[in-house]
Amino acid sequence: MPKLISKDAVMDNPWTVMTTSTGPEILQSVPGKNFIVPLQFWKLYQEELSNYDGAIAVWIDSNEQPGQIADDLHSLPLIALNFPAFSDGRSYTNARELRQKYGYKGEIRAVGDVLRDQLYYMGQCGFDTFEIRHDQDAELCLDAFKDFKTGYQSTIAEPTPLFRRR
């Protein structure tokens, strides 16, 4: 079970990621759960999903864009942005876009190849929670958010750039 952290604590994870190989029929057999479903799945089975009595969130891969479901974003409690490899930087831009362009207020979760040494930057770009890779030490990962005391940029976590603060 991958470990989940926020910027300051280890957390329980009530969400289960559903893979594309599953069909919507699983929803009938396990009522009242929290499922994160892939974007394509969500688009295909919107009706079944809207009738489900549990909570539904969407999983967006790094080559997909939140804009594809712009109109529905606000009804989603959580969006998971995938890092297929830690070196794939597209989900940083997707996270910022969710906040900056679409004003998304729900939880943004980093999933996939999520490692200690990228957490600080993810935290700056609008991610709230981090499903760290199985081999990562959750306590050590929490230190990552203290790697830098401040930065130069205007970010989601600190919208005022340093030149307006110094």
């Binding site: 830690f86 930087g89 930065g151 130069y152 940029q153 919208p159 340093l162 030149f163 110094r166």
Partner: protein, 552 residues
């Protein structure tokens, strides 16, 4: 020059601690090779043929005397007593041990230096004209804007894992010495409507495997929109740049495949979101950064003082150095001096710890304690009193730094090549040396006149061979090192990519090939026409004919 405040120091200290921790985890086996790779690259650390290579950032090429002394100490303490100037105004050390690097970085931090983002798929050191602030043909000093970009791009959380590396150059002079058009983003400081000063922005230039001249994306951007515009361009690139093939991952390919007009539309769409955000530059911030580059305390002097004109008449060697290496300054009585590091027999751009110390002393004595590194791997003292030029020259001569071949055929740009670099297909330093040995007559060199000869040991093009008037590229032919020659490249305002003359040559043939090319030029030039102009007039054919006729 820019001085750190508490914030800058804090960030640098945080970075040093972060990298120390990462290095320790790697050495303890807790961080895999693959996971450590981009972390060490973003701290300038390559693993090379013989040892790690550490690239130190020199923001827009500016170095103080204090920093030079620290670099000399590092060359001596952690390396084999020398350093190397790169083609992006940085400094490299070829021999530090991995375990020492965190200490080395801590030493650098004491003098406000670091190796941040000198490699890796992130925004690299912003470069500019090495005469900035002193040039006669400057609209505005580019360095304040370079510093603003440096801060924005350092540790940018969204752009640390781009599809590929990203290079920005800023040019504020009429004569472009910064190779601006072959950068991922090239910025010209220009006058716009109502004579307001702002920026003309090019995108998608670059060398490497697919050389491209940048295309204009905006003909005029107001100063306050500098960072929001850059942020919008980077956001489109980060999202849409190709990640399936590292050879097609630079922004130039994206711009080419998208088309510049469509690319501009995408940028404008992103820009609309940030254009009036808190990232909009304030007048106060521009003023604050400009103040760091205020004119030094110039004396009220006249041009061509007696001390200078006397020595020019009485000392031929000095006169020759003066005519080649000394350029006019915007302030009367001052000159810009380039110390050319292209002594035959020394790898282009290599400098010893002793020379670094000596340059530091000379900078303190003659040029307000500052120097610049040029992308042509030389050093510039930008504010030297004309009545002190002779004394400076004497001092340089005593340190074997008075080469008077600046801008001539033997002022070669050259990458470290197969002698050091793990990527290289072929050696490049011995090629430079063999050409320098062939052309060892200074009179002949000045007769040939202005000429750039650029050498790269592989198609990554660190030696800028595509934009050399003569470009030489090392290639691997069935395990043997061969050299492809191209002609007619230029990185100036009329930037152009060289044309390949024909089949490649063996290493030992290269000096003769260059001699033949020069011979054709001398034969065909009219009056004092430069090589590049003759080439543009007569084309490749006459050169090709002669070079291969000889080979038969």
């Amino acid at each position: 020059m820019y001085r750190y405040d508490g914030y800058d120091h804090q960030m640098l200290a945080d970075r040093v601690a972060q990298f120390r921790d990462q290095t320790n985890r790697y050495m303890d086996g807790k961080l895999s090779e693959t996971e450590f790779l981009p972390l060490r690259l973003q701290n300038g650390l390559y693993v090379q043929r013989l040892a790690p290579m550490l690239r130190i950032a020199v923001p827009y090429g500016m170095v103080s005397a204090t920093q030079l002394r620290k670099l000399a100490y590092i060359a001596n303490h952690y390396d084999k007593g020398y350093a190397h100037f790169t083609t992006r105004q940085n400094i490299q050390f070829n021999w530090p041990a991995l375990a020492d690097v965190p200490d080395l970085l801590a030493d650098l931090a004491e003098v406000e230096m670091h190796a941040i983002q000198t490699s890796g798929n992130c925004i690299r050191n912003t470069t500019t004209d090495q005469f900035a602030g002193s040039a006669v043909d400057e609209l505005e000093d580019s360095r304040a804007y370079c510093e603003i970009i440096r801060q924005w791009s350092s540790f940018h959380p969204e752009f640390a894992y781009l599809p590929r590396k990203f290079k920005i150059a800023v040019c504020g002079t009429a004569d472009d010495q910064a190779a601006t058009q072959v950068h991922d983003i090239g910025i010209y400081i220009v006058k716009g409507p109502n004579d307001e000063v702002g920026f003309r922005i090019l995108v998608g230039g670059g060398l490497g495997r697919t050389p491209v001249i940048g295309k204009e994306i905006f003909d005029f951007v107001e100063k306050k929109h500098l960072l929001t515009t850059l942020e919008a361009i980077l956001r489109v690139y980060n999202r849409e740049g190709r990640r399936d093939n590292k050879y097609k991952a630079r922004i130039k390919i994206l711009v080419k495949e998208t088309g510049v007009d469509e690319f501009r539309n995408k940028v404008l769409e992103e820009w609309a979101l940030v254009k009036d955000s808190s990232l909009t530059l304030t007048d106060e911030e521009i003023d604050r950064c400009q103040k760091f580059f205020d004119a030094p305390d110039y004396q009220d002097l006249g041009n061509s003082p007696q001390e200078l004109t006397d020595k020019l008449q009485s000392n031929l060697l000095f006169a020759s150095w003066h005519s080649q290496n000394v350029k006019p300054h915007k302030v009367a009585g001052y000159s810009i001096v380039t110390v050319c590091f292209k002594e035959t027999g020394v790898a282009p751009g290599d400098v010893t710890d002793q020379q670094l110390k000596q340059i530091a002393d000379l900078a303190d004595h003659y040029s307000f304690g500052e120097i610049r590194i040029s992308h042509k791997q030389n050093i510039v003292m930008a504010d030297v009193r004309q009545d002190q030029l002779f004394d400076l020259w004497k001092a340089l001569e005593s340190g074997a730094m008075a080469s008077h071949n600046l801008g001539l055929l033997t002022d070669v740009i050259c990458c470290p090549g197969g002698d050091f670099c793990a990527l290289a297909n072929a050696k490049s330093i011995p090629i430079a040396e063999s050409i320098q040995r062939k052309f060892d007559d200074h009179e002949e060199l000045t007769n040939i006149g202005e000429m750039n000869l650029n050498i790269s040991g592989c198609m990554n093009a660190c030696g800028h061979h595509h934009v050399g008037n003569i470009g030489i590229l090392g290639v691997d032919k069935k395990g043997e090192e061969y050299y492809q020659v191209s002609l007619g490249g230029s990185s100036k305002n009329n930037a152009s990519l060289g044309k390949i003359i024909g089949p490649s040559f063996a290493q030992e043939d290269i000096p003769d090939v260059v001699e033949t090319i020069v011979g054709v030029y001398k034969d065909k030039r009219s009056g004092d026409e430069k090589f590049i102009d003759t080439f543009n007039r007569i084309g490749l054919a006459p050169f090709k004919e002669k070079v291969y006729a000889k080979a038969d």
